[in-house]
């Protein structure tokens, strides 16, 4: 009996030690990186970045999880061509000078139902630490043979902190960024 108990414990410990981190590639077809910004204090104008790529690692040890995302600035889409042209110009995102917006996690902590992810957010040539809570992490097989997981979260950035000061006032300084994405297990 004692031998059997020891065997079970050794087996269990072994299983824990061999549990591997899962690597995922972001599925651009099921990824939404949206922003909202206040207009005249009356309503919110929203937009998104259509070209997004990234990868993440889900590890049994949350501290070893990692998230990295790149958005192509040029792909900004607020549903108005004239506004998008202006947003791409150096008055706003300066897409030709800073073609990418990136986020790379530096610390991941477990929270109820997900992770609190802190990382370096680079936009408009400025890098600052940003934190957001990503909820989710469930898994599904879709289509058959393809394992996927997904997360949803949001955070608020001050665009002026990233050197984007155009029309602060009528156009809000706070930008609500919401993300929702799936990853396909590699």
């Amino acid at each position: 009996m004692r031998y059997a108990m020891t065997s079970v414990m050794v087996l269990a410990l072994g299983l824990v030690s061999v549990a591997r981190a899962d690597e995922y590639a972001l599925d651009p077809a099921h990824a939404a990186f949206d922003f909202k910004i206040q207009h005249l204090g009356l309503s919110w104008t929203s937009g998104r970045f259509n070209a997004v790529e990234g990868a993440f690692r889900i590890d049994p040890k949350p501290a070893d999880c990692a998230f990295a995302v790149t958005m192509q600035t040029e792909s900004i889409d607020s549903g108005n061509k004239q506004r998008d042209d202006h947003l791409r110009s150096p008055d706003w995102f300066n897409a030709k000078q800073h073609p990418q917006i990136t986020f790379k996690s530096t610390a991941v902590k477990p929270v109820d139902g997900g992770y609190e992810v802190t990382g370096d957010f680079s936009m408009h040539g400025v890098t600052k630490p940003v934190s957001l809570v990503l909820k989710g992490g469930g898994s599904a097989e879709f289509p058959k043979g393809v394992q996927r997981t997904g997360f949803t979260g949001s955070t608020v950035l001050k665009r002026s902190e990233f050197g984007m000061n155009t029309m602060v006032g009528p156009i809000g300084d706070d930008v609500q960024l919401s993300v929702s994405f799936e990853g396909i297990k590699k």
Binding site: N80, Q82, D85, H86, P90, K96, Q97, Q100, T166
Partner: protein, 307 residues
């Protein structure tokens, strides 16, 4: 963002600085020939400063690279060429060097040179930068040659009118802060042309040379960092060259006033067409409000909001 009052102040400052520099230089005999180049360069920078151009570094943005590197280099080249007697070939070589360097300087660090998404590949880079250099150099040399043929404020005025049109078109093409820079440039050119004409100062070639580089620089950043179309950029850049028509028959045989009036009309025609097209495109893509709800809000409406 475009604020008519701020722009008017910037134009006034640019014109005043250009005039003061020219008058100061004309009192210093040796500096008189360099006055035009200095006047337009400093007037342009003063206007830009009034419009909120406060650089954080030397090379970080396209406007910093244009205003703090390319324009001072143009002032230096034109001032030097005005003071020393170089052969036309050597002068062209010096201007050519700056024209070829201007493109890479303005585009430094952008996707066009680093090869990011939407940028240029190796061969494209070489080809486009060479073409850009030629598009800056050929009108530059051509305008300088025309200025040498007969001292006249016409070229300076044509550059000023083109700067106004380029400014409005660039603003309508989605790059407001670059477009508004062209308006004080126009004021500096007008002030320089008028003072040089009335004081019979020898500084006009320098003013034309620096004015052209400033205008070309605005067109380049409008095209490559904003959404100024290639066609509009080329038309605007080519318009000052219409001054050459006054040198050929039948215009050259006309009396001066009919000739000037026709030249003005010939210059305003392409400029007006470009601005009209840019305005049409702006309206078409602005997502106008509901029928009967009034015009779409302008940037000025945003600036005035809450006042």
């Amino acid at each position: 963002m475009p604020d008519p009052v701020a722009i008017l102040w910037a134009m006034a400052a640019a014109g005043a600085v250009a005039a003061l520099v020219l008058l100061a230089c004309s009192r210093l005999r040796e500096a008189a020939v360099t006055g035009g180049a200095l006047a337009v360069g400093l007037g342009f920078l003063a206007g830009a400063w009034m419009l909120g151009f406060h650089p954080r570094s030397l090379l970080a943005t396209d406007q910093e690279r244009l205003l703090l590197v390319v324009v001072p280099l143009a002032v230096a080249v034109e001032s030097w060429l005005a003071r020393v007697s170089l052969s036309p070939a050597r002068g062209a070589l010096l201007r050519g060097s700056l024209a070829l360097a201007a493109g890479p300087l303005v585009l430094l660090g952008s996707v066009y040179l680093t090869g990011g998404a939407g940028g240029w590949s190796g061969w494209e880079r070489l080809l486009y930068l060479l073409a850009l250099g030629m598009l800056i150099l050929i009108p530059w040399l051509s305008l300088m040659r025309l200025q040498q043929l007969g001292p006249s404020p016409a070229i300076g005025m044509a550059l000023a009118a083109t700067s106004l049109a380029a400014g409005i078109t660039t603003m309508l093409s989605g790059y407001a802060s670059a477009g508004q820079l062209a308006l004080p440039l126009a004021a500096a050119l007008v002030a320089a042309a008028l003072i040089i004409q009335t004081a019979t100062s020898p500084g006009m070639p320098g003013a034309v040379g620096v004015g052209w580089i400033c205008l070309a620089g605005i067109l380049v950043i409008g095209r490559f960092f904003g959404s100024l179309t290639t066609l509009h950029g080329l038309l605007l850049g080519a318009t000052p060259l219409l001054c050459w028509l006054a040198e050929y028959r039948p215009l050259s045989a006309w009396h001066i006033w009919p000739r000037r009036l026709l030249l003005v009309a010939l210059i305003l025609l392409p400029l007006g067409t470009v601005v009209w097209q840019a305005q049409g495109s702006f309206v078409a893509h602005s997502g106008s409000p509901l029928p009967g709800a009034g015009p779409a809000p302008s940037m000025q409406d945003y600036l005035d909001f809450g006042r």
